[in-house]
C-alpha cells in the first residue's frame, strides 16, 4: 500500500462532486470491510480508502488498477455477488455489496501465475498455435491449464435469473450522448416540437463538463436547467445506445433503471427505439499511450484523474508526472496542484516524452526522454482522443483519419436521418460545441418532421500531435495483454493486415471491444508497415453491441406462445397428462390410452382437436386457390361436401394434409395439421399476394376461433343426435365426407363434418370457441349412458396407425415427395398447374425413391422403436420404421415405414435393426391399413 493509503485518500469537498457525504455505505472488498459514500463508484470508494489494484491481467497476471475510470476501464472488472464482470469504475456502490477480484490465484496480492511474466518472451502472441501439437492425446490436459488463465468472473447454475422487461419507445429524435453538444441538440430538437430521448452512459448528463472547472460547471448548470424545462425530452442516464440498425431502429440498454415489478427490481432493461432521427453526440474517448510499463497501477489517463478528483473527491496519488499534449492534460495538472499533489509536467508539444514507467504493484518512477528519472506514484497521460464512431459505423459510415487533429472523422456517407454533433465533428470551446449541438438538434428535428433545418456551423479541426507509441514497447490491449511488440512480431510473421493481426494477437477482442485500443492498434500496424497514413491500414468494423448487454435484458420476459383449448379446465380435472406440441399444450391421455382406444372402437369417445389449423376461405376464386395448393382436384366440390387434400412444397415434398369443406357458395373451411397451421396460412398468403393478387379470395385464420372436438365410435351418431338440432343425421342425408352447419347443445353457428382419422364413424364438431367447454360438457352429459369417454392424442395416434393414415413429418420427411408417401391415387398430374407439379412429374418418371408401406413384425409382441433402421447385409440401410405401436384392437404390433422400391411388394419380409442391436423381421402388408382397409366402419 502506498503512503497515501495510510492517511486516507478522500479529499475535502470538491465543487462538482457527486458523492453524498451524509450517506456512508459499507461494503466488502476481497473479504474485508470498507466504506464509501452514496454516489461513489466501487472503484472510487476503494481508491479513496487506499486500494490500488483491482484485478490481475489475462495472460501475465500483472496487477492492474485504474486507467480510464469509465465503464470501459480494462483493469476494473470485478465480481459482485453472483454477477460476473461488473465494471467497477462505473457501477455505483450500494450498501452491503460483496465485491471480489476475479480469477486470482491464490490471491489478488500474490498470484503465482504472474511467474508467466518471467517467461513472457516465450509466450509471444499466438504461442499456443505453435505448441502442444503432439501427442494429440495430451491436448485436453494442456487445455485445462490454458483454461485456468481465462479471464472473467464466475456464474452459478442456480444463480437468480432475475426479472427483466423491455420497453418500446417511439420518438422523433434520439440523442446518443449527453455532453454539451448532445444536451444542446436535445433542447433544440424539443424546441422545434420534436419528442426527444436523450441517452447517456454516465449517471449524470454533462459529459466532460462535469469534471471541468468553474466555467464548465456553470455552463453545465445552465444546460441542465434547459433540458429540465423541456417537457418533451426524456432523459435516460446510466444507459447506452448499443446498436443502430436500419431505419433508425435503435437499441438502448438501461442499467439498474430503479424500476420494480411486483417487488422484483429490474437489473437491466432493453429499450427498443424507433426514432425519426438519430443524433450521435458520443464524444471522444481518451486514448492511452503505448510505452513500457503503461499498465502499472498509478498510470492513468488525464480524464480518469479528473473524474476521480472532481467527481468523487478521491486522491489518485501523491506525486505525479503529467505527460500532456493538450489542454485537458494541462487542466489535469492544475487540478492535481490544487489538491496538493506535486506535479512534474512533461509537455509533448515542446518535444517532451516519457520512455518507461517502473514499479511493482504501484508505479515508483518514470524515465523521461531527456534522461531524467522522476520518482512518482502517479503518471498521467493526455496524448489524444479516439472518436466514438461505432454508431456511425453501424449506420454505414467508414470514418476517415485526419492526421492534423490526429483522429478519425465521419464522412458524408451517413443517411440523412443520422447526424453528428459535437466533438465527433470537430473541436471547439464549450460555447461552440453548444452552438453546434443546437444547430444539429434543430436539423434532426426537421428531418424527423418538425420545424426547418438550420445551417450547422463548422467546427475547427485543431492540430494535435500524433502520439501513439513512445520509443519503448507497451501494452496496446490491456485486457488481452497484447503489446506493441506482439503486434510487430505478428506483422513480421505474415499476419500483416489489421484483420489478421487482430485475429492472431486478439488485440481489440477483449471486453472493451477496442474502444480504448483500436486506434493504437491501427497506428502500431502503420508503424510496422512503415506507413504514416493510418487510412492505409484502415480500421476493423465495429459491430453491435456498443457495450455488452446482459442475456437477461436481451431475452426479456419470455413471450413464448402457450396455447390451451377452452376445454383445458376439464382436461385438468380429469387428470390429463399434458403433451407439449409446439405452441399447444394438450392431453396426451387420461391414464390409459389402450382403454381409450377400446372405448372408441366399441362405443364412443371424444377428443379435443382444437389445435387443428383452421382457415376460413371466402370468395369466388377459392377453388382456384385449392387447386393450386393441393395436389388433387377441387373444381367440383359441391356445397356440403368435404374432401381430403395433400399439399406439396415446390420441391414436391409433402408439406401438409387435411380436409376442406364447402359450407356455402363462396365459403370454405380448410383444416391443416396442428403444427402446420401457421405455415399453411403463410403459404396461401404468399401465393395470393405474390403470384395471384387478382384472385378474389380472402383467407382468415380461425384456429383459435373454434373449439374443435371429434366424436368417434359406433355410437357417435346416437350421441350427436341428442345434442344437435335441425340436421338429418341419417347416412343418406349426411353421408361420410360431408359437412353441415348446425346448432349444437343450443349453440348456433357450429359446423360439423364426417371424416375418419380414427377409422370409426365420427363427427368433427367445430364450435365458436367461447362455447367450447359448454358443448364438450353437454356431450358428456348426454352420452353417459352410452359409455362415452374422452380420448387423448396417444389413442388417436394408435387408431390412425391401425388405419394406416400417415402423419406428415413423422411418416414423411424433408425428402418425401408425393409418390413416396403412397399418394399416387390423389396426385392429379393432368391438372393445369399446382405447387410441386414439376417435381412430381419428374418423380412419376422415376423408380428410385423409397416407398411408404405398412409393416407387421413377424413376432407380434415386438414393437420396433420408431426410427429403427431397415437393413440389408451388415450395414446397408434400405429403409426405416417411421411409426410403431402395439395395437390394442389387433393385439399385435403394427408399423408404417419406408423401404427401397425392391422391398415394397406386399409379402416381402425385411430385416430391422433395433436400437439395442437385435435384428427382427417385418412383413410388408398390402396397403397401409392394418385394420378395416375397406373403411367400412366409418361409412355406415
Amino acid at each position: 500500500m502506498s503512503s497515501a493509503a495510510a492517511t486516507g485518500r478522500r479529499l475535502d469537498p470538491q465543487a462538482g462532486e457527486v458523492i453524498d457525504r451524509g450517506s456512508p455505505l459499507s461494503f466488502r472488498w476481497d473479504g474485508k470491510a470498507h466504506t464509501g459514500f452514496e454516489g461513489d463508484t466501487i472503484v472510487s470508494a476503494l481508491m479513496a480508502s487506499g486500494v490500488d489494484v483491482f484485478s490481475r491481467s489475462f495472460k501475465y497476471k500483472r496487477p492492474r488498477g485504474v486507467l480510464s475510470a469509465t465503464f470501459h476501464d480494462p483493469g476494473c472488472t470485478v465480481q459482485v455477488g453472483d454477477e460476473p464482470n461488473v465494471r467497477a469504475a462505473h457501477r455505483r456502490l450500494a450498501a452491503g455489496m460483496d465485491v471480489s477480484p476475479e480469477n486470482v490465484w491464490p490471491s489478488l496480492k500474490f498470484d503465482v501465475r504472474a511467474a508467466n511474466q518471467l517467461v513472457g518472451r516465450f509466450l509471444s502472441a499466438g504461442f499456443y498455435y505453435k505448441t502442444f501439437m503432439k501427442p494429440q492425446r495430451l491436448w485436453p490436459a494442456y487445455q485445462k491449464i490454458l483454461g485456468r488463465f481465462a479471464a472473467g468472473g464466475v456464474t452459478a447454475a442456480d444463480a437468480e435469473h432475475g426479472y427483466y422487461d423491455k420497453r418500446y419507445i417511439h420518438v422523433d429524435v434520439c440523442v446518443a450522448g449527453g455532453g454539451p453538444a448532445g444536451m444542446a441538440a436535445a433542447v433544440a430538437a424539443a424546441r422545434s416540437g420534436a419528442s426527444v430521448l436523450l441517452v447517456d452512459e454516465e449517471y449524470h448528463l454533462g459529459g466532460h463538463l462535469r469534471y471541468g472547472g468553474e466555467a464548465e460547471l456553470a455552463a453545465l448548470a445552465e444546460l441542465r436547467a434547459e433540458v429540465a424545462a423541456q417537457k418533451s425530452i426524456e432523459v435516460m442516464t446510466n444507459a447506452a445506445v448499443t446498436g443502430r440498425y436500419d431505419m433508425n431502429w435503435i437499441a438502448v440498454v438501461q442499467r439498474q433503471p430503479g424500476i420494480s415489478v411486483r417487488g422484483r427490481s429490474i437489473h437491466e432493461r432493453l429499450c427498443k427505439v424507433r426514432a425519426g432521427a438519430l443524433v450521435v453526440a458520443a464524444g471522444l474517448i481518451e486514448r492511452p499511450y503505448v510505452f513500457e510499463g503503461n499498465d502499472l497501477p498509478g498510470v492513468m489517463l488525464s480524464t480518469a484523474v479528473r473524474r476521480l478528483v472532481n467527481l468523487h473527491a478521491a486522491r489518485p496519488g501523491d506525486k505525479a508526472v503529467v505527460f500532456t499534449a493538450n489542454a485537458d492534460g494541462d487542466a489535469c495538472a492544475q487540478d492535481l496542484r490544487r489538491i496538493g499533489v506535486g506535479v512534474t509536467v512533461v509537455d509533448a508539444r515542446t518535444g517532451g516524452n516519457i520512455v518507461s514507467a517502473k514499479g511493482g504493484k504501484r508505479l515508483k518512477s518514470v524515465d523521461l526522454a531527456d534522461g531524467r528519472s522522476v520518482d512518482c506514484d502517479l503518471l498521467v497521460t493526455a496524448v489524444g482522443w479516439t472518436a466514438a464512431t461505432p454508431l456511425l459505423n453501424m449506420a454505414g459510415d467508414r470514418p476517415v483519419y485526419d492526421p492534423t487533429p490526429a483522429r478519425f472523422f465521419p464522412t458524408d456517407r451517413l443517411p440523412a436521418t443520422v447526424v453528428v454533433a459535437g466533438a465527433l465533428a470537430g473541436d471547439g470551446s464549450t460555447a461552440e460545441l453548444i452552438a453546434h449541438g443546437t444547430a444539429v438538434g434543430a436539423t434532426a428535428a426537421a428531418r424527423a418532421g418538425h420545424g426547418s433545418e438550420v445551417p450547422v456551423p463548422a467546427l475547427a479541426r485543431v492540430a494535435h500531435p500524433e502520439l501513439y507509441r513512445s520509443t519503448t514497447h507497451g501494452f496496446v490491449d490491456y485486457s488481452e495483454d497484447v503489446s506493441s511488440k506482439d503486434m510487430f512480431a505478428a506483422k513480421k510473421e505474415g499476419y500483416d493486415s489489421i484483420e489478421l493481426v487482430k485475429r492472431y494477437t486478439t488485440v481489440t477482442m477483449g471486453p472493451s471491444q477496442g474502444k480504448l485500443e483500436s486506434v493504437n492498434a491501427v497506428a502500431i500496424m502503420a508503424e510496422a508497415h512503415g506507413v504514416t497514413d493510418l487510412n492505409e491500414i484502415g480500421t476493423t468494423v465495429w459491430r453491435p453491441p456498443y457495450v455488452p448487454i446482459t442475456l437477461g435484458a436481451l431475452g426479456g420476459r419470455g413471450f413464448e406462445n402457450t396455447r390451451f383449448s377452452p376445454m383445458q379446465s376439464w382436461h385438468e380435472q380429469h387428470n390429463a397428462k399434458p403433451l407439449v406440441a409446439g405452441d399447444w399444450i394438450r392431453p396426451e391421455h387420461y391414464g390409459d390410452a389402450a382403454a381409450e382406444v377400446a372405448k372408441v372402437r366399441d362405443k364412443v369417445g371424444i377428443i379435443d382437436v382444437t389445435p387443428l389449423g383452421k382457415l376460413d376461405l371466402r370468395g369466388p376464386d377459392v377453388p382456384k386457390l385449392l387447386n393450386l395448393l393441393y395436389v388433387n382436384k377441387w373444381s367440383k366440390l359441391a356445397i356440403g361436401a368435404v374432401r381430403y387434400g395433400v399439399m406439396c412444397a415446390e420441391d414436391g415434398v409433402v408439406m401438409d394434409d387435411g380436409v376442406t369443406g364447402r359450407l356455402a357458395e363462396d365459403r370454405y373451411i380448410m383444416t391443416t395439421t396442428s403444427s402446420g397451421a401457421a405455415t399453411v396460412w403463410e403459404w396461401a398468403e404468399s401465393w395470393l399476394q405474390t403470384e395471384h393478387p387478382d384472385w378474389q379470395v380472402h383467407v382468415t385464420p380461425v384456429t383459435t376461433g373454434y373449439a374443435s372436438m371429434n366424436v368417434a365410435g359406433p355410437k357417435s351418431r346416437e350421441l350427436i343426435g341428442r345434442v344437435v338440432e335441425g340436421v338429418d343425421l341419417s347416412n343418406d342425408a349426411f353421408p361420410y365426407m360431408h359437412v353441415r352447419t348446425a346448432t349444437v347443445a343450443g349453440v348456433a353457428d357450429c359446423f360439423m363434418w364426417r371424416i375418419g382419422f380414427t377409422g370409426e364413424l365420427s363427427y368433427e364438431i367445430h364450435v365458436p370457441a367461447a362455447y367450447g367447454l359448454h358443448v364438450w360438457e353437454a356431450l358428456f352429459d348426454a352420452g353417459s349412458d352410452l359409455g362415452v369417454g374422452a380420448f387423448g392424442v396417444e389413442a388417436q395416434r394408435i387408431m390412425r396407425l391401425e388405419k394406416g393414415h400417415f402423419i406428415v413429418g413423422q411418416d414423411t420427411d424433408g425428402l418425401t415427395l408425393g409418390f413416396g408417401a403412397d399418394l399416387g391415387w390423389c396426385i392429379k398430374l393432368d391438372k393445369d398447374d399446382f405447387a410441386g407439379k414439376p417435381e412430381l412429374v419428374l418423380q412419376s418418371q422415376r423408380e428410385n425413391y423409397q416407398r411408404l408401406v405398412g409393416l407387421q413384425p413377424v413376432d407380434p409382441t415386438i414393437v420396433p422403436a420408431e426410427a429403427s433402421q431397415i437393413v440389408e447385409g451388415a450395414k446397408k440401410i434400405v429403409g426405416r420404421v417411421t411409426s410403431s405401436r402395439m395395437s390394442p384392437t389387433l393385439r399385435r404390433s403394427i408399423c408404417l415405414g419406408f423401404v427401397e422400391p425392391h422391398l415394397a411388394t406386399p409379402g416381402t419380409v425385411v430385416t430391422c435393426q433395433l436400437p439395442d442391436g437385435r435384428r427382427v423381421q417385418l412383413k410388408v402388408i398390402e396397403g397401409l391399413a392394418h385394420f378395416d382397409p375397406a373403411g367400412a366402419r366409418m361409412k355406415v
Binding site: 501439437m133 444463480a159 446498436g243 513480421k492 426479456g556
Partner: protein, 421 residues
Amino acid sequence: MSKVRYPAKYSALGLIKHGLMKGDWPQVWRHHELKPSYDVVIVGAGVHGLATAYYLAKNHGITNVAILDKGYVGGGGSGRNTSIVRSNYLTPEGVRFYDRSVKLYEGLSADLNFNIMFSQMGHLTLAHNDSSLRTMRWRAEVNKLEGIDSDVIGPDEIKKLVPYMDTSENTRYPIVGALYHPPGGTVRHDAVNWGYARGADIRGCEIHQQTEVQSIETADGRVVAVDTNRGRIATRTVVNCTAGWASLINVMVGLKMPLVTHPLQAAVTEPVKKFLNAVVVSGSLHVYVSQTDRGELVFGASTDPYASYSMRGSLEFTEELAGHVLELMPGIAKMRLLRQWAGLCDMTPDFSPIMGITPVEGFLVDIGWGTYGFKAGPVSGESMAQLIATGTTPENIKAFDLARFPEGRLVGEKGAAAVGH
C-alpha cells in the same frame, strides 16, 4: 506423398529458442507476384480452397497452384463460423464423409505442425418433444450402423454432462432426451485456415490475397483463363471454393445451380470461468452454444429467413437467442453479450454440398457448404485434390454431384444440419 521441412518448425523448444534469441519467426505464408499461368486456380482462400491446395501439393505433388481471395485468408465463412466439428449426420453418405473429416481433424495439429485446438468435448442435440426425439433416434441408428459413437440419452445423463441445464419437467419446452456424440467438439477456425495456408505455401502453392476474380474465360466449353483485379491468369482448371459467393462465380461460366445465399448470425459473450463442457444444440429453440477455452460462450442459430449478401447482425437475433439460451440455462442471465456478427451461407435444398465436375470442362465446384461446411474442410480438400489429380471422382463425394438434383437423388441432411451446424 511429399514430405517437407518447415524452415522453422513450431514446437515448445522452438518457442524457447526464438524467445532467447529474440529471432523472428518466418512468414506463415509469403507474398508473390501473380504469374501469367497456373496449373490450378482455386478461387477462395477459406478452409476449402486452402485444404484443396494443401492436399494437391502434399498428396499429389501438384504445386503450380494459385489460391485467390478478394479479401484476406479466412475472411469469409471460414473465419466467422462457430467451428463445430461432428459426424452425427443423418444419411449414410453424409455420416461417412463427415467422419473422415473428424478423423483428419484428429491428426491435423501434428500433420500441419500447427495447433488447431480440436477439443472433442462432446456434442449434445436436445430433443424437446417426441418428434425431435424420433429424429435423434434416427440419427443415432444410422450413426451406429456406420460405426460412429452416437446415442440417445435421457435427461438425467444430460444433467450430469451439463449441470447448468434446466432438465426439470416444468419448463416451457421440457428436455426429453438428447443425441449424444462424444467425439464432437470445436476447433480453432483461424488455426485451421492458417495451418493449411502455411502448409500449402511451404510446398510451393501461392496464396494471393486482395485478388478478386472478375470473370472467367471459356473456349469450346472449357475453362481457359481467369481475369482478376491484378491481371489475367491462363489456366485449364478452376475450382470454385467461394461458399456464400459461389453463385456469383458460377454465373461467370454461365452456370446456375440450386443455391441461395442466406446470412447466418453468431454471437459471443464476455468470458466467465469454464462451466460448460459440451456443445449443446437445441433445434426446437433454434440455438446452440459452446464455451471456448478463453471462457466466452459462443452462440449460433439457424440462418436468417431471407436471402441476402449482407453481413450485418440484427437486434432481433440477439433477443431471441438470449431468450432461448436462458430457457436452457436460466443461471447465466447476468452474463453479457459482447459481440455479434454474420457470415454468408450458400444453402442447397437438401443441406448437402455440391462437389465435383460441372458441364463446363475444367470448372470444378466445392460449394453448397451452407451452415455446416467448416467441419468438412479437410475431407473436401482431400477429395477435391484427388479429383483434380486423377480426373476421377472419389467414391466418398459421388453422392454430392450436381446431377443429383435433376435425377432426384437428394442427400437429405436438413434433419441433422438446420440448427446444429
